[in-house]
């Protein structure tokens, strides 16, 4: 009863008779930023979020000890997280025929999954088809920013002008100088921790208090300097000094909860879209929020061919509504945005809205993962316990391939993320052989002496890697689902081999004893960095959006999330998504005021 009443109330929050200045579809990093920028310009904005509004602080319980939880953080019976093996030996939809009541993507197999099971989607309700792909989705206010890994990196002209560098793919229609002021704005508005390094291909941000390195990380940093390679403290999208202009967020206190759990920060030191962007935007009085609103279609004004609003399904009642706006901003995440555009078919746009180029869903790219290394730092064995995990991340090892030299085997590059030292659960408890007193002592003596890292590499944008709409399969709400046609190529495989080789080379240089070296490539999608399905470009025949993420075809339609990327780079995308969205929405608001949309 309560539920129905609440739903009616929230349905009433949207004025279906009103024409909003803009509708923003999605409330993650991109949607949140669009709402922030447009409301700051005085525009009246309606935000549609497909998921629920969750009281996140009650979910995460960041400082709860494992033994205070009935199942030590694990999920109850009937709740199942997909394993790597399941992703590879089976075909999507992965939850079909599962005996479990609830099936989640692999991230729910990490530490403390019980705390985040309400954040990621239940695969049973959200099927997809086609080639193997580990698609991680979070349908709730704030989307994946509620649990993101927080590594906040800038791209450089080596990325934006990659084609000019190696003659593959397309250059972006912008340069670093176009986006740099917006990176600065994102840094200052949301807060970022890091150390200035003055490296051209990994531009510095305006950093707050940096994270420190462990003994082992510092040793590796110093060792690889000789190789002209850079290990720098994690550039975390976390405010470590606090933000005077945001009352919803605290500064980081190094509780380390972000690494003990799937993610999430209940003091909101780590950026999340609800506290970082949406709640401040609500305070302007210009933002209306409608959760449980699954965007089904961008509607069209038949006379003009322009977008007229968004038809959405109430996730609780299944009823369809239509909200009207002068501008539509899609920010539903790379793959969901493509899905929405492809579903929005009309006489004016028979291929889907904004898709006269037939490039929507194509040029789908991301980061390849898999190769990783673990080393033993012998100087640390048996040493007194240190506090190594009281921070929101450990380190980033920047790209070093294909900068000035040309690798004979592959183009583009990769970076590493990693960690070391003690954590709440000794990872070596599983790998230490034997039993009894000697086993116990060995686990104790060696627990803090390991260091690991794994690579993230650029997957080339290729037209033949794409998603389209499955002609027969629908989700719980009757919306046709995505079908994947996506595989890693030869360049990625050769790059992956090199990742393992260089990891070995660097650990050896630092004097670590290598205890594990894996060359295995993880299932497509593992990085949760899907990009490129509505790419920007100067040519409307081969791109979907212009440099302001505005549809070439429909001038009052913008797509401001990762789908706009013209290439994947190897740096994590969130900070760039937000800087681009800020730039595009500044442009949008300016054009709106001039009446030219």
């Amino acid at each position: 009863m309560t539920l129905i009443r609440l739903t009616r109330q929230s349905a009433a929050e949207v004025d279906l008779k009103k024409t909003y200045d803009a509708i923003v579809v999605g409330s993650g990093a991109a949607g949140g930023m669009a709402a922030h920028v447009l409301t700051a310009h005085g525009m009246k904005v309606l935000m549609l979020e497909a998921g629920k509004k969750l009281d996140i602080d009650k979910e995460l319980k960041s400082t709860e000890w494992p033994y205070e939880h009935k199942r030590r953080g694990e999920m109850p019976p009937g709740f199942h997280a997909l394993s790597l093996n399941e992703y590879n030996i089976r075909q999507p939809p992965y939850a079909a025929n599962s005996k479990a009541q609830h099936v989640y993507s692999y991230v729910q197999g990490w530490g403390g999954p019980d705390y985040s099971k309400n954040i990621v989607v239940d695969e049973k309700d959200h099927p997809y088809t086609g080639t193997n792909y580990a698609w991680v989705r979070a349908r709730l206010l704030g989307g994946k920013t509620n649990i993101w890994g927080r590594l906040a990196l800038r791209l450089s002209d080596l990325d934006f002008k990659a084609k000019s560098h190696d003659d593959y793919g397309e250059d972006w229609p912008i340069s670093y100088k176009d986006i740099a002021p917006y990176y600065d704005k994102v840094d200052l508005y949301l807060g970022i921790s890091g150390v200035k390094e003055n490296v051209a291909h990994l531009p510095d941000s305006i950093f707050q208090r940096p994270i420190k390195l462990t003994y082992a990380e510092n040793k590796l940093r110093q060792s690889i300097k000789k190789m002209n390679r850079l290990l720098t403290p994690y550039r975390a999208g976390v405010t470590t000094d606090g933000l005077k202009h945001n009352k919803y967020r605290s500064k980081c206190f190094g509780r380390g909860a972000c690494n003990r759990r799937t993610g999430g920060c209940d003091i909101h030191a780590a950026f999340d879209s609800p506290t970082g962007l949406i709640m401040p935007a609500m305070d302007t009085g210009n933002l209306t929020l409608r959760t449980n609103a699954i965007a089904r279609e961008v509607t069209i004004d038949k006379k003009t061919g322009k977008a007229s609003g968004v038809a959405f399904i109430d996730a609780e009642t299944g009823r369809t509504y239509e909200a009207k706006a002068k501008v539509v901003v899609i920010a539903a995440s790379t793959l969901e945005s493509a899905r929405l555009m492809l579903l929005s078919k009309s006489d004016a746009h028979p291929n889907g809205i904004g898709n006269s180029s037939s490039h929507v869903g194509h040029n789908f790219c991301e980061h390849i993962m898999g190769p990783h290394i673990t080393g033993l730092v012998k100087d640390l064995v048996g040493k007194p316990r240190t506090l190594d995990d009281g921070k929101p991340g450990s380190f980033y090892l920047a790209r070093f391939r294909n900068l000035n030299e040309r690798n004979p085997k592959f183009i583009r590059g990769y970076g590493f993320e990693g960690g070391s030292g003690t954590s709440i659960y000794p990872g070596n408890a599983g790998s230490t052989p034997g039993f009894g007193s000697s086993y116990k002592k060995s686990v104790r003596d060696y627990a803090g002496a390991f260091m690991s890292m794994g690579a993230f590499g650029e997957v080339l944008a290729r037209y033949e890697n794409y998603v389209d709409i499955d002609p027969s399969v629908k989700d719980k709400w009757g919306v046709p689902v995505l079908r994947f046609h996506y595989k890693f190529g030869d360049n990625e495989k050769k790059m992956a081999d090199d990742m393992a080789d260089t990891a070995q080379e660097m650990f050896t240089e630092a004097g670590f004893e290598i205890v594990d070296l894996s060359r295995r490539i993880l299932t497509e999608g593992w990085s949760i960095h899907e990009l490129g399905t509505a790419r920007m470009g100067t040519d409307p025949k081969t791109s979907v959006l212009n440099q302001f993420e505005q549809s070439h075809d429909v001038k009052n339609l913008f797509v401001v999330d990762g789908s706009a990327f013209a290439s994947a780079s190897c740096q994590n995308p969130t900070w760039t998504i937000m800087a681009l969205a800020w730039r595009s929405c500044d442009y949008l608001a300016d054009q709106f005021k001039k009446g030219s949309l």
């Binding site: 033994y67 019976p77 104790r444």
Partner: protein, 195 residues
């Protein structure tokens, strides 16, 4: 049935707190206090059940599991062992609620196999054999830890993995044995400046 009994009629300390909670509620005591007591019960379920009927194992099996966990992670001069963390209770609880048949069968058959091997090697039940004999048996089934083939070898890995999971996520495991220093509020990050 056994499971129902344990949920509605826990013995000993659990029963006391259950009664107290009811009394308190009857008396109109604050909800917050009642919630605190509920928390105690949750802890009791996770950390202590020795003495009452186990949820999944028979009493005999439970005694065997309890001893096996202590052999995997014994008390030493640094900290208590798996028995003190009630590792067997946690294993028992998780198996009892599992919807999968595989782990249940693995444990039932594994424990039977331990007894068979004890008879074969030492001519007596495992818990009647000497400490040296028990260790000899575990040594034998742990030989192929990296590539287990025989049923008892697979069982050893399952036993060890569940024991380690229970032990190192317990209060004793985290604080006493591993002396974990994190999960606290820090004014400054700890470690080396990047220079």
């Amino acid at each position: 049935m056994a499971e129902d009994q344990n949920e509605t009629n826990p013995v000993g300390r659990d029963e006391e707190s259950e009664l107290s909670r009811r009394e308190l509620l009857k008396l109109g005591a604050s909800a917050a206090f009642a919630v605190a007591l509920t928390g105690l019960e949750t802890n009791a379920l996770a950390e202590s059940a020795q003495g009452r009927a186990p949820l999944f194992f028979t009493r005999e099996e439970f005694a065997l599991v309890d001893e096996l966990t202590e052999l995997i992670i014994p008390a030493d001069d640094h900290s208590p062992g798996a028995r003190a963390t009630r590792a067997a209770d946690y294993i028992d609880f998780r198996l009892s609620e599992s919807l999968e048949e595989n782990p249940k069968t693995l444990w039932r058959n594994g424990l039977k196999r331990i007894e068979e091997l004890s008879q074969e090697m030492h001519g007596q039940p495992f818990l009647k054999s000497s400490r040296e004999q028990r260790i000899a048996l575990l040594t034998r089934i742990s030989q192929n830890e990296t590539k287990p083939v025989k049923s008892e070898e697979l069982f050893f890995n399952e036993l060890k993995s569940r024991t380690a999971r229970a032990y190192y996520s317990s209060k004793i495991g985290i604080h006493t044995e591993m002396e974990y220093k994190g999960n606290t509020y820090l004014k400054e990050f700890v470690g080396y400046d990047a220079t």
